[in-house]
């Protein structure tokens, strides 16, 4: 490496130069973009290796269980740098999301040591953790002999760190002092508005800023835009219908899923008068301006309708809007993003989050080696690589969000995305009560919502029935 190039890379490593400026500087010195990336990779590997024995597990192989996802793609694209850094081998199985969690459950429940680490959502760890299938990662995070000094755990967004840590006590607060770190945040989604700028302009509709405005705007868009409906939200009979836009808005009105009594007993909290009012508004919005076959809608249909121009807005994962604004989607380049506080009286949005995370199997025979992979995959370097070069959004580290190059890339191609993130991130966390019946109760909640939207049951009665059923199930499980 010539002296000027070395100086530039050195400045980048000391944090005096952004990645974009470095690549530009290297370009000015006649270094191609590909070579510049290779130089950066080598330099960062050296920097990572400087104060830590990354080669300790050289020759060891770890096996991963992955969901087919852009986060996994970004990791696989950068895997060679991990292998070069550690001398370790990494193999993996990738499954589509439809069957992924069944595979994880089967692998973990069988006690198989085949997979050392795997992708998971934070909600799933409420089952895996108490079952003893996954390991508390605090043991590694807090061990300087096993964790590189520049891992910077505190750099992870605080809401995400807390949301992936639970003490295992039903109703226990996430991120409490005695919480176990069941998984490491890897990439995450907040739930906000993504809208079709052309459609809103054509209908003369301003970007809604609260639930009332959203309902009105969606109705007007349904009426005025030919071939499109107003707002896309999920509706399938699944827990996944409750956690995105629905719970984000619900939490914004100060409502919660369960009450936790002083003696730790849980009871249903979704049949308060405020909750009933919110549900009524949500149901009305879907009936007036949602997709016709809403009750079959998963994230996939919500996203593809927006990308195809069949819907004018979605209140769902921000990264769904991100992906629909690119590729060969008909509406690519026409989407805008906005933070959304459903409650007009709320100071800020309260997006409930989905966090793709990495966890370690208790049955793994190579935990220390697996930890090397986990800390690399969730480290700032890989995070920046994925966010800058691949579609590894949303990154979970503050340092990546502070990177000028990454922000500029988003600003240029995804108008409003950075702002919606910055405004919403402080309130982004899991708003559910952590407890082992999470999937039972939220699936039933979704089923009740379907009945309300279909007019099978009035909202008030539906919520009272739901609350009674929830209480019965909690009692049966010894939690209520």
């Amino acid at each position: 490496m010539l002296e000027k190039e070395r100086d530039l890379v050195g400045a980048f490593m000391r944090g005096q130069l952004s990645r974009r400026d470095l690549v530009r500087g290297l370009g000015a010195l006649g270094v191609s973009a590909a070579s510049a990336n290779a130089l950066i990779g080598m330099a960062t590997s050296r920097a990572l290796a400087a104060d830590f024995d990354w080669k300790k597990h050289a020759g060891t192989g770890v096996k991963l269980l992955l969901n087919k996802h852009p986060y996994a793609d970004a990791m696989i694209a950068n895997l060679e740098s991990f292998k070069a850094l550690t001398g370790m081998e990494v193999t993996y199985d990738v499954f589509p999301e439809d069957v992924y969690f069944d595979k994880v459950t089967a692998a973990l429940a069988s006690g198989s040591s085949e997979y050392d680490a795997f992708m998971t959502g934070a909600y799933m760890t409420w089952t895996y953790g108490p079952a003893g299938w996954i390991t508390d990662l605090n043991e590694w995070i807090n061990d300087p002999a096993k964790t590189a000094p520049n891992y910077a755990w505190e750099d992870m967004l605080p809401g995400l760190r807390a949301s992936t840590a639970w003490n295992g006590v039903p109703g226990g607060a996430l991120g409490s002092a005695d919480a176990k770190q069941w998984c490491l945040p890897w990439g995450y989604e907040m739930n906000n508005l993504t809208y079709n700028r052309d459609m809103l302009a054509k209908a003369g509709v301003a970007v809604p800023t609260n639930m009332g405005e959203l309902t009105e705007a969606a109705a007007k868009l349904t009426k005025d835009i030919d071939g499109a409906y107003g707002v896309g939200v999920r509706g399938s009979r699944s827990w996944a219908t409750i956690h995105p836009g629905f719970l984000s808005a619900y939490a914004n009105f100060g409502q919660k899923d369960l009450n936790v009594s002083a003696d730790g007993k849980l009871s249903a909290a979704m049949n308060t008068s405020e909750s009933k009012a919110f549900h009524a508004q949500w149901v009305k919005m879907i009936q007036e301006s949602g997709p016709k076959d809403w009750s079959t809608y998963t994230w996939y249909q919500v996203g593809t309708d927006l990308g195809a121009g069949a819907s004018a807005m979605i209140f769902d994962a921000d990264i769904l809007g991100y992906f629909m604004n690119g590729g060969d989607n008909a509406m690519a380049g026409k989407l805008g993003y906005a933070p959304f506080a459903a409650n007009p009286a709320a100071a800020a949005p309260t997006p409930n989050v989905w966090i793709w995370s990495l966890a370690m199997a208790t049955a793994s025979q190579k935990k220390d080696a697996a930890w090397y992979f986990l800390q690399w995959a969730t480290g700032a370097e890989h995070g920046l690589f994925g966010a800058s070069k691949m579609d590894f959004v949303n990154p979970v580290r503050q340092s990546v969000w502070s990177d000028e190059g990454f922000r500029a890339r988003l600003e240029n191609s995804y108008p409003g995305y950075v702002n919606q993130h910055d405004v919403s991130a402080p309130g982004a966390k899991i708003y559910f009560t952590a407890q082992p019946l999470f999937f039972d109760l939220t699936t039933e909640w979704a089923a009740s919502l379907q009945q309300m939207v279909a007019g099978q049951v009035p909202v008030d009665e539906g919520l009272d029935k739901l609350a009674a059923s929830v209480d019965r199930q909690l009692k049966e499980a010894g939690l209520g």
Binding site: A109, P130, G132, R237, S238, S295, T443, A447, Q451, A477
Partner: protein
């Protein structure tokens, strides 16, 4: 070759006459064991409070899972939906299968060709058929939605409405499985003795009379066999319903298998899931017993008449 080699003939492995029956039945015995062990395990689990996410709470609760199910209105909804689905699919498929079989009864090249072509849906995995129908019933671009709008139903919601969800999945089931009934009944029709029909033709007996008094009674054993096969399959329906609606909207299509699947894989509630499976086994056992008893009675009657 030495003299010793010639003197010692090769010893042949011989199985004693006593051991032979056991050896021959060994594969069947192994299969039985492979069925009985999970069955016994399922009964054992069904008597436990056993949720993977609460290992500390695992204990025998001796039938509490069953009691909880029997006092849960959602369970009775599951029973009702499963039985309705099974009755509708088997009944309609039987009528349609019989109708098609009667149309194709005569052995002609065209009929043989059509009967083979009609087997196509059986070659399609039910889950794939469900996805295909899901696309065809999509309100934006589905061909069936378009046809419904031409027929004056522009807002027909298919599987997404509780009013029409059952109809939609039954239609998919009919599309996939009617050929199965058709082929069994066609084989039955073509194997019926010709004399009674020839005698009826000579006497000028009306065709409807021939159908009700000769064809149908003689075909009844085949109808019962086909119904039994389909009933056992239909009451365990999972893939079509799960792929189309996951049991929704609401609890409209929450049949046994979907409920048990969700209980195990999503809720990790092994005890409740096992109890549901055991109850489904009991229902299936009772229904098959009724069918087999009737089938045997018919056979006895046929022998008696002969």
């Amino acid at each position: 070759m030495t003299a010793a080699d010639i003197a010692a003939p090769r010893r042949r492995f011989r199985i004693g006459a006593r051991a032979l029956p056991y050896l021959l039945s060994l594969p069947a015995l192994l299969v039985c064991i492979a069925i009985l062990i999970p069955f016994g395990t399922a009964i054992y689990y069904s008597l436990q409070r056993f949720r993977l996410s609460q290992p500390w709470a695992r204990q025998m609760n001796w039938g509490e899972n069953y009691l909880n199910l029997f006092t849960d209105p959602a369970f009775w909804n599951t029973v009702q939906v499963s039985l309705t689905y099974a009755a509708l699919t088997v009944g309609l498929e039987l009528c349609l299968g019989l109708g098609i079989a009667l149309l194709l009864q005569k052995r002609t090249r065209l009929n043989n060709f059509v009967s083979i072509m009609l087997l196509l849906p059986l070659m399609t995995a039910p889950a794939l058929a469900a996805l295909m129908w899901k696309l065809m019933t999509n309100p934006n671009f589905g061909v069936l939605s378009w046809l419904a709008s031409l027929m004056g139903f522009p807002d027909f919601r298919w599987a997404s409405s509780p009013d029409t969800a059952l109809l939609t999945v039954v239609l998919v089931d009919i599309w996939v499985y009617t050929p199965f009934i058709m082929i069994l009944l066609l084989a039955g029709l073509r194997s019926l003795p010709t004399q009674p029909f020839e005698a009826a033709a000579l006497d000028g007996v009306p065709r409807s009379f021939v159908f009700w008094r000769i064809t149908l009674p003689m075909l009844t054993p085949y109808i019962l066999t086909a119904s039994l096969f389909r009933l056992l399959d239909s009451i365990q329906q999972f893939d079509i319903i799960y792929a189309m609606t996951q049991g929704g909207p609401g609890d409209t299509l929450l049949v046994f298998q979907v409920e048990a699947y969700l209980n195990f894989f999503q809720s990790t509630n092994v005890g409740r899931s096992a109890a549901l499976m055991i109850i489904l086994w009991a229902i299936t056992y009772v229904l098959s017993s009724i069918f087999i008893k009737n089938w045997l009675r018919l056979r006895e009657r046929a022998r008696g008449e002969a």
